[in-house]
Symmetry: D3
Subunit: 132 residues, 6 copies
Amino acid sequence: MSTVSLLSDADLSPAAAKVFADIRATRQTDFVNNFWRALAHDPALLERTWSAAKQVMAPGALDAKTKELIYIGVSAAHGCDYCIASHTASARAKGMTPAEHGELLAVIAMAAQTNRLAQALRVPVDAAFEQP
Amino acid sequence: MSTVSLLSDADLSPAAAKVFADIRATRQTDFVNNFWRALAHDPALLERTWSAAKQVMAPGALDAKTKELIYIGVSAAHGCDYCIASHTASARAKGMTPAEHGELLAVIAMAAQTNRLAQALRVPVDAAFEQP
Amino acid sequence: MSTVSLLSDADLSPAAAKVFADIRATRQTDFVNNFWRALAHDPALLERTWSAAKQVMAPGALDAKTKELIYIGVSAAHGCDYCIASHTASARAKGMTPAEHGELLAVIAMAAQTNRLAQALRVPVDAAFEQP
Amino acid sequence: MSTVSLLSDADLSPAAAKVFADIRATRQTDFVNNFWRALAHDPALLERTWSAAKQVMAPGALDAKTKELIYIGVSAAHGCDYCIASHTASARAKGMTPAEHGELLAVIAMAAQTNRLAQALRVPVDAAFEQP
Amino acid sequence: MSTVSLLSDADLSPAAAKVFADIRATRQTDFVNNFWRALAHDPALLERTWSAAKQVMAPGALDAKTKELIYIGVSAAHGCDYCIASHTASARAKGMTPAEHGELLAVIAMAAQTNRLAQALRVPVDAAFEQP
Amino acid sequence: MSTVSLLSDADLSPAAAKVFADIRATRQTDFVNNFWRALAHDPALLERTWSAAKQVMAPGALDAKTKELIYIGVSAAHGCDYCIASHTASARAKGMTPAEHGELLAVIAMAAQTNRLAQALRVPVDAAFEQP
């Protein structure tokens, strides 16, 4: 159970309702997932988080699917179960294939092991890697 | 300073030297970075790690640059300074532009904040996100 | 399910029972939560952990509610679901308002994103921030 | 060394320069720390991050010093050296005393140990802690 | 629910079935746990992960039980619920006593608190600890 | 540089001096490392941390070297550079051989990768692993 109640549409403040309307319009679906329903208790936090997510996750120099893959990588490293579940669903909706999912998992595993090895070995950064 | 010495080419065991030769052949450069020089004390660990990295980071369903972006995302979430430095250099060598780097950073920041929000709120996973 | 059984009062060793009595006296309630029931298998660890918690979380230079807020921040960053649930309840019992909870969540989100940005950017510490 | 160059005032784009002007006006100092100089390569990310930080860290239901303490707690749990250095300096500038710093450290240590104990023990959340 | 289906024996590709046969032969049991059933969607990842696990977790300079204790320590610090559950069971199967479990938990708690203290204090490494 | 000054022996309060005397007597060396010199600003925190460390890291059901190995595993997963440096030195002083160090690193790498895989896959815990 969440640490705050999940607000139904009927419970929203006008400010939160406005954000929900934008979520629905942007995503072209009536479905609003639990994350936003929990955040809706604090309309300023809801608005800031949604507005940043909308901007950041839209296609730009990187396409939307690639952004989802990076997002899943970060979420796995942070151990966020909710985020892994929701963004794996998003990545699939944006076209992630089973083969791509498998390679994403392999990169996450690879990074996790070399990250902890480099830290346990205290490897100094090579001069060649420093930004000139 | 690292927790083990960084082995020079002259210090390598035959098994480690064989891995270094493959690193050089695969990457088509004489340069072998410190991570492998620290791992070289344990040829089995060196061989297993290099062989997995070579397989995982090669282009497949995902291209090599996308894999580097995911790698950087995981490394940032794990706070691995060495890995961030070395893979940011790799990503650039594979064509990451400043605009792509900026968007990568934005996705990392976005995921970090929503990861910790979802955890602090203990948001339950929506039924819609469960794999059928 | 926990990795050890949760001990009922009837199962406690005399050393563990003594700690439970102090938990009840200090908190002025008969309720002893699962964390202590799991720790009770190792009375030395139980005693050391409770005794530190009692000392650290009591009002001092910082008031008890502020300490709970910091505790929740650390627990969110560690992804500890149990700790988030129990200390959010504690913070509320010590007077945390919905507005304070919202701002706590906003600070956690802010720190999470700038933490990972500063790490991904490898920002060097400014001389001005070094302790003189 | 950072993964991007730290921009001097002369190197800023007009959009980044506008954010720097607001940082200086808000903080009433000419000093702009390295974090913003690294972010300045991506004016949209710079603007979004600064604007959120300005809003979140200002006094509200929680005072500015308490927010810094929470920030340090999260940053310690994320192992962000830059953030610990900069926000410990900020907290002192906002009046954090040595006694408060000591208690902050004690709460961080307490949370870290109980977080990992609760996770290693897989303690189930008590019904009493669930939000009604 | 997992982000991929858990494959039953009947669903396995020939490559995955070969790995399952080796898991069964190595462990001398018919039981194959969920982790491998989820990985089995990607036979290359399954094979690489199992082959590394088999090699790394076998008795060597360190005995198999000690390796499980280290594994649990890392898993607790990463907050991996599945890994804590499965490797606590493994450690018990390899002879971990309740007293050893209690001391393992105490070391995890000790490391967690001093790790975050050393980071929050930014303690510089003593010259005496540097590898000569 | 640390966030507090590192206290020399001449700067210690009587309470801190008493702890330093016990550190020296217990370890049978005059050397007191920086971690304790930073903690010494808060004698209560210093005393509590040292007293717990002394108790926890002493040989018991697990020998002192095994405890150091677990400690290094947790510290690597937390990315604590100071702790990795100091406890790798401690483990060597307690007899850790290069072969044992190599296997420790291999277990850390193994756990790191399977931890993040299990989390990214959201693998449900097998009934067989639940504590009866």
